[in-house]
Amino acid sequence: MTILLAKNNVKEDIEMRNVYCQALMELARKNDQIVVLDADLMSSMGMIPFLEAFPERTFNCGIQEANMIGVAAGLSTTGKIPYAHTFGPFATRRCYDQIFLSGAYTKSNIRIIGSDPGITAAYNGGTHMPLEDMGIMRNIPEMTVLEITDSVMLRDIIIQMAELYGMFYVRLLRKNAVKVYEEGSTFKIGKAVKLKDGKDVTIIANGIMVSEALKAAYILEEKRISTRILDMFTLKPIDKEAIIVSAKETGAIVTVENHNIINGLGSAIAEVLVENIPIPMERIGVKDMFGEVGSVDYLKERFELTANDIVKKVEKVLKRKQDMALFLQGA
C-alpha cells in the first residue's frame, strides 16, 4: 500500500464516472472476460464510450435490477467478470434477495456498483438516496463492502477487483470528489488509511465525509485539539487493528458517514470497540431519517454532516473521555 496525500482539499477536475469508464475500458482491452451491466443508467454513469467500444460485452438490462443481478451471477459462472451498476438504492434495497442468494449464497463473482451515495443524490431526493445501503450489504456473509473517496482510489480499486473473486459492493460518487490522494497511491482492501496523526481523538470517516473530517481537523487544531484521521474505505472486512490501535493511542473516537447512523460505519466500529476496548465514541451520520431534495451543501447542514458538526461531536466525546477518566480514578 502506497499513500501520497494531496494538499489543499480541493475538488478534482475529473468526474468519478469518467474515471470508472476509463478504468473499465483499460481492463476490458486486456481481459476479454470483463463484462459490464447496467439498469438503464449507462448515460448517467458516463459508460457510453464503453458500450461503443465493447458492445458485445455490455448488457443494459433496462429498468430491471433483480434480473440484472441474476444475469451477472449467471455470467460469472461461465468465467466472466461482471461490473453491474445502478444508483445506490436500486443496487441494494431493490434487489437485496437477488444479491444475497444468486450472488453471495451461490458464491458468484459480482462487483456491484451503487452510485450517488447518500445525500449526493441531491435533487433526485429521498427516493434516490441510499442511506442504508452500506449497512444492508454489510449484513450479507462473504460480502466485501467499500466506499470510494476519490478518483485515485477509484481507479486503483476498480482495477484490483478484476483479479479478485467474490461479491463486492462499491459505493461511489458520479461527479467530482474532493482530492485526497495523489496519483500513484495504491490501496489495500481491508486496511484503513491514516491521513493525519494525532493524540487526543480519532475521527474515522469514509467517502465524501473524509474531506469534511480534514476540514474539521484544521478547526480543531486551532482549538489545540490534536486529531488523528482514518479513512475507513473498507466497511467490511473492517480494519479491527487500526480501530483498536487508535482507541488505545487516542482514547476517543468520532465516526463520520454519509449514511444512516444505524448499521453503517459507526455501528461497525462500535462493535469492535465494545468487544475490545470500550472507549467513548460518538457518531455523525443521518439520524435515521429519510432523504430529501436539496443541494449537497444544504443537505450537509440539514443532516448535521458538516465540519462544524464534527467539531461539536469531538468536543462532546472529549468531555466524555475526561468524565470517564475521573470516574475510573475514583473507582
Binding site: 433483480a66 449467471g74 455470467l75 460469472s76 437477488q98
Partner: protein, 169 residues
C-alpha cells in the same frame, strides 16, 4: 446454481446462456420453472430480456401442475394461458403432456430448431402424478406422512419401486 428463492433461476439461466454465447459454446441452458413461480415479477423481467437478446440457446420448462402451496393457481393468481403469455413476450411456446416423455423429447428437438427466440415448453402435469394416493391429496405441495398414514406410505414406496423397474434398461 440455487433457485430456492423463486423467480431467480430465470435470470441466472439467462446469464449462463449469455456467457455461453460470448464463448461461442453450442450447448443449451435448460431452465425448470414452476407455474406458481410465474407469479414472480422477475420471471417476466427475464422473459423480456431473453427475447430482446434473442437467446435461442435457452429452453425453459414450466411444470404446470395448476397448484401452488396455498391451493389452485387459478384461485390465488390466475395465470390464464401460460403459453400465450410467453408468446406475447416473444418466446416460442409449446404445450405438451407432462407425463409423456416421448412428447417432451419431441418438443425439445423442435425448440432446438427455433432461431432468434428463447423457447418455453409448458408441461401439463398433475401434482404427485403417478401415485394415486398423492394425486388425490389436495394439499400435496408438501406432504408429511404421519404414523396413521404408515400403510399408505408403504403402498406408495412399493408403487414407486415397481415404476422404477419399468424404466430399467
Amino acid at each position: 446454481m440455487t433457485t430456492g428463492s423463486l423467480g431467480q433461476g430465470m435470470s441466472t439461466a439467462i446469464g449462463i446462456a449469455l456467457g455461453n454465447r460470448l464463448d461461442k459454446r453450442e450447448n443449451y441452458v435448460y431452465l425448470i420453472l414452476g407455474d406458481g413461480e410465474c407469479d414472480e415479477g422477475q420471471i417476466w423481467e427475464g422473459a423480456l430480456f431473453a427475447h430482446h437478446h434473442k437467446l435461442d440457446n435457452l429452453i425453459a420448462f414450466v411444470d404446470a401442475n395448476k397448484k401452488q402451496l396455498d391451493g389452485y393457481t387459478k384461485d390465488i393468481n390466475d395465470l390464464g394461458n401460460i403459453d400465450e403469455k410467453f408468446s406475447y413476450f416473444g418466446w416460442h411456446a409449446q404445450d405438451v403432456n407432462g407425463a409423456d416423455i416421448a412428447k417432451i423429447y419431441e418438443a425439445i428437438q423442435k425448440a432446438k430448431e427455433v432461431k432468434g427466440q428463447p423457447s418455453v415448453i409448458i408441461l401439463d402435469t398433475i401434482k404427485g402424478q403417478g401415485l394415486k394416493f398423492v394425486e388425490d391429496t389436495m394439499a400435496n405441495h408438501h406432504m408429511r406422512f404421519s404414523a396413521a398414514d404408515h400403510k399408505a406410505a408403504e403402498k406408495c414406496i412399493i408403487e414407486l419401486e415397481n415404476k422404477l423397474k419399468e424404466y430399467q434398461v
